[in-house]
């Protein structure tokens, strides 16, 4: 992977991990603008962090709506998310005051 993932990418990955399946749900979950979400999804797809799956045509027809494109994490995506979260936690710990001084 060329570059550590940014905060936006991590939030999107986390949203997918937490059960959001298609774009609108990710938008709702992350509260990021749709104009940011879709290109980021596209880039992560190109880099192999997420993959997409089209909804079964019959399901969509049954509900009388166009079929949806679902997003899933790949193994690479899981690893990137875990690493990213660890990195964020690490950074947060460095920023917060030492444990001893805050407990007093």
């Amino acid at each position: 992977m060329p570059r550590p993932l940014g905060f936006t990418s991590l939030r999107i990955l986390a949203a997918i991990r937490d059960g959001s399946t298609y774009g609108l749900e990710i938008v709702r979950d992350t509260e990021l603008p749709s104009g940011t979400i879709y290109p980021t999804l596209g880039r992560m797809r190109r880099n192999g962090l997420v993959r997409t799956r089209w909804e079964d045509q019959r399901t969509a027809e049954r509900e009388g709506r166009p079929r949806r494109r679902y997003y899933e994490l790949t193994a690479e995506g899981w690893r990137a998310l875990v690493e990213g979260v660890a990195r964020l936690r690490d950074a947060a710990e460095k920023l917060s005051p030492p444990l001893g001084s805050s407990s007093g």
Binding site: Y22, P33, S34
Partner: protein, 873 residues
């Protein structure tokens, strides 16, 4: 399925989808429709209201733009380049021919640009802040010109001009360097003491001249050598500084060597080999050059003071003009002009620009031709790639994508061609001066600007020849897929190729006729009789004063002995002397008039001649007599030419008339007109004075011989026998000088001729390719025709007709190009009008013949078609 997506949102999506690359548009649309549908059906009311809906849909356009950008990112460019490289490698022959053709066009353009760059755009080297320098010149209200100043005028400019931190003067002056067998003539420059200071030049060894080196006449025998002379003649020995060298028989101390780049302030002309203070103005004139208002010899430059604009400095020249007019009556309607920069004076700049423009037009035509040719090659080859393009379109490549691929291929080819052209441009410094008709004082080698131009012109060429095939092919491939019919696309491609071949033929005709016009001018000049007989005439410059023979009596005796010795040389028929030689130079003029007629006073050619001058040069005496030898002319008499006789005494017999100017003279004869200065200038009024009455210290020996004349070595030896210290500055064969005076015409003729030959070849190849392509396409048809009983030669005619029709259209277009080029070249032509019918029709015929041959070779093949075989395939 009923949608709950509002109409405006659907429209927005559809509009945004246009940005999405075509092959991904469907899935993009599907995903977004599903998302918006989901939003519209949301159970939460706030989701369905207008603001949240709008906020969501607003993301569609950024997404679409992002996808478009992805499509065009480096990754696919790299892919394109890789693919293009593979394609070019697959047909090495095609690639080599196309790249070499292009490299020629690109290299020619960049070389000419490097010439223009050195001559016009770049200031001479070795000068600090050259754009702060100005040139100052003498002109007149009535007769505008760009001329040098007298010394008193120069001193006045120095004291009266404002806004200049320094005003310096300089003048070319030939010097004889060294003595005896080692003597050679070099071009030096007399410069004011502050010359190098004004230039901001630096020494390489020792020091440069300073104001204290230039105070009183004849008192400063110091010299600065140019780096070139120092390395050539003194082996780059730094010890030479402080030593004494001989200039014109006098001893000078070398005080320093200038930095390597410094070649004076002019870009055209022989660069000075050494610099001497102005006070060392050749001593035989004494103090005269520094006191006479009427003796103009010094060119003036200045440097703008810090913060002063050119306009401000120029304004102060009005004051200088007024002061000059008040100072002496000679300056009555003088006007002091100032021009920015140095390098070339405005006249020279105009002339060099015109020549450069002509060269640029010609190489531009060549580039256009090579581009046309390569575009044609591309199209021809693309026809064979039809299936490949079809497949690519079928699997989703858009039209733009395909065009881009072809453009990438052509740009890659242009890059290869540019790389091939780099060594040509790099070595331009070596071959350009040889091709250029003037001496170049500055190096014209490539610098950053030239390489930038090279890259620019390379890319331009790539776009130029790539755009046509890219456009044609991307349309064709689409047609192939949609209609499964290659024919209409192929027809379009053929039409474009027809147009390209017509263009090629037209451009080559332009070049061919330009070359023919220039070539005939050179021939005409060769055959021209400029009023004297140049065949077998050799001239040699001698300067007794420069060798220390300043006494008139001594000089005359020397001339006499020289001529006696010369006629003894084998093959020499006559030997004579004059102060100037026709065409090659040493020209001087002086004002003459009939007695008391100052109103018609005229600056006539002033030709001081020795015995047998008219006989020796083959100039006819039309009335009266010529001039006698040293002992035959006790009276002050002159011979005038026809032009002067017509000017002063129209319709009268000039013999016996009196002429005033540098004394009073009686006219004893009228000589035929001679084009003294150039073959292109009509003869000017001229007066021939006998040497006995008007001594000159610098003369030209004229030798008339049968056949080739004396060898330079024999001539020098003969002069050395008479006076070992007298150097022969230059020996010129007038036959070749007359030819050389057509230098620009010949150079251009040679260049254009070479390019025209090439253009003709390219056009022929283009036409050949087109006809053979047509023949290959129609093999089946021809087979049927033969099977039905058509005679083979009728078929050949059928195939030829098309090629010839193109040739005829091309020739008609080409006649227009020829006419335009002819007008542009008019000033360089000699003895032939720019629209000479014979030349143009000859060129047109040559082109038609070439075209007919190029079409006939492939057309002939159809006659050999085996009907059975062609129908089976």
């Amino acid at each position: 399925m009923t949608t709950r997506v509002p109409r405006w949102a659907r429209w927005l999506l559809r509009a945004s989808s246009l940005v999405v690359p075509a092959h991904r548009r469907l899935e993009w649309m599907e995903e977004w429709t599903a998302e918006v549908e989901a939003l519209a059906r949301s159970r939460r009311e706030t989701d369905r209201d207008y603001p949240s809906m709008a906020r969501f849909v607003a993301g569609a356009l950024p997404h679409a733009l992002w996808m478009r950008k992805e499509e065009w990112t480096m990754e696919s460019v790299v892919q394109d380049v890789r693919f293009a490289a593979r394609v070019l490698r697959r047909s090495p022959g095609f690639t080599a021919v196309a790249a070499l053709t292009l490299a020629l066009g690109i290299g020619a353009n960049a070389s000419i640009f490097s010439l223009v760059n050195g001559m016009l755009l770049r200031a001479p080297q070795g000068i600090a802040e050259p754009d702060r320098l100005v040139q100052i010149a003498r002109s007149y209200d009535q007769a505008p010109r760009w001329d040098s100043f007298s010394w008193p005028a120069f001193e006045l400019i120095r004291s009266e001009s404002r806004g200049l931190s320094g005003v310096a003067g300089f003048q070319d002056q030939p010097f004889v360097l060294g003595r005896g067998a080692e003597a050679e003539q070099v071009l030096g420059q007399l410069v004011s003491g502050n010359f190098f200071e004004v230039l901001g030049a630096r020494p390489y060894v020792g020091r440069l001249l300073r104001p204290s080196d230039d105070v009183s006449p004849g008192a400063h025998a110091v010299v600065v050598l140019s780096h070139a002379l120092w390395t050539r003649r003194f082996g780059g020995d730094p010890e030479v500084v402080g030593q004494t060298i001989h200039l014109g028989g006098d001893s000078y101390e070398v005080v320093g060597v200038a930095a390597p780049g410094l070649t004076g302030v002019e870009t055209i002309g022989t660069p000075p080999a050494l610099w001497v203070p102005t006070m060392q103005h050749p001593p035989y004139y004494g103090e005269l050059p520094f006191s006479r208002w009427g003796w103009s010899w010094i060119d003036v430059i200045g440097r703008l003071d810090g913060g002063v604009s050119f306009q401000q400095a120029r304004a102060s020249m009005d004051v200088v003009t007024t002061r000059l007019r008040d100072a002496d009556s000679v300056n009555e309607d003088i006007r002091v002009l100032m021009a920015p920069g140095v390098g070339l004076d405005p006249d020279g700049r105009r002339q060099a620009s015109q020549l450069s423009l002509l060269l640029a037009v010609i190489v531009g035509l060549v580039l256009l031709l090579t581009c046309t040719n390569v575009a044609n090659l591309f199209l021809a080859r693309a026809t064979g790639r039809g299936p490949e393009f079809g497949v690519r379109v079928a699997i989703g490549a858009g039209r733009a994508r395909l065009g881009r691929q072809i453009l990438t291929e052509s740009l890659l080819l242009a890059v290869v061609a540019t790389l091939v052209a780099v060594p040509v441009v790099y070595s331009a410094d070596r071959f350009l001066p040889a091709l250029f008709p003037y001496a170049l004082a500055v190096p014209v080698g490539a610098d950053l600007r030239v390489y930038a131009f090279l890259v620019g012109i390379g890319l331009l060429a790539g776009l130029l020849f790539g755009a046509v095939p890219a456009w044609v092919e991307s349309r064709r491939a689409l047609a192939d897929v949609i209609r499964d019919a290659a024919s209409s696309g192929a027809r379009r491609s053929t039409r474009v190729r027809d147009a390209l071949v017509v263009g090629q033929l037209g451009l080559s005709l332009g070049l061919v006729s330009a070359a023919a016009l220039l070539g005939r001018s050179v021939l005409n000049a060769h055959a021209a009789r400029p009023g004297f007989e140049p065949e077998g005439l050799v001239v040699a410059w001698i300067d007794p004063a420069a060798a220390g023979r300043e006494d008139e009596e001594e000089g005359r005796g020397l001339y006499r002995r020289l001529l006696d010795r010369m006629v003894d040389l084998p093959g020499i028929q006559r030997a004579t002397l004059a102060n100037q030689a026709p065409v090659v130079g040493g020209h001087s003029r002086s004002t003459v008039m009939p007695p008391g007629r100052e109103d018609v006073a005229y600056e006539a050619e002033r030709i001081v001649v020795g015995p047998e001058y008219f006989e020796g040069l083959g100039i006819p005496i039309l009335r009266g007599r010529g001039l006698g030898g040293f002992d035959d002319e006790p009276e002050p008499v002159v011979v005038v030419n026809e032009a002067l006789a017509d000017r002063f005494w129209p319709g009268e017999d000039p013999v016996g008339k009196i002429l005033e100017g540098s004394g009073t003279w009686r006219v004893v004869g009228v000589a035929g007109d001679v084009q003294m200065r150039s073959l292109r200038q009509a003869a000017r009024p001229a007066v021939y004075y006998p040497l006995v009455h008007l001594y000159q210290s610098s003369m030209v020996i004229h030798l008339r011989s049968e056949g080739s004349g004396p060898s330079p070595v024999a001539l020098r030896q003969a002069v050395a026998e008479v006076d070992p210290d007298l150097p022969v500055a230059a020996i010129v064969d007038l036959r070749s000088a007359v030819t050389a005076s057509m230098g620009e015409t010949r150079t251009l003729g040679f260049l254009v001729g070479a390019f025209a030959g090439l253009a003709l070849l390219l056009a022929a190849v283009g036409l050949y390719g087109l006809v053979s392509f047509g023949a290959a396409q129609r093999v089946r048809e021809m087979g049927i025709r033969i099977a039905l009983g058509a005679r083979p030669d009728a078929l050949v005619r059928l195939m030829l007709r098309r090629g010839l029709a193109l040739a005829v259209i091309g020739v008609m277009a080409g006649l227009g190009v020829s006419w335009l080029l002819g007008q542009a070249l008019a000033g360089l032509l000699f003895g032939i009008p720019p629209d000479d019918a014979l030349t143009l029709s000859g060129a047109a015929l040559l082109l038609l013949a070439t075209a007919a041959l190029a079409a006939w070779i492939p057309a002939r093949r159809v006659a050999r078609v085996d009907p059975a075989a062609s129908l089976r395939d």
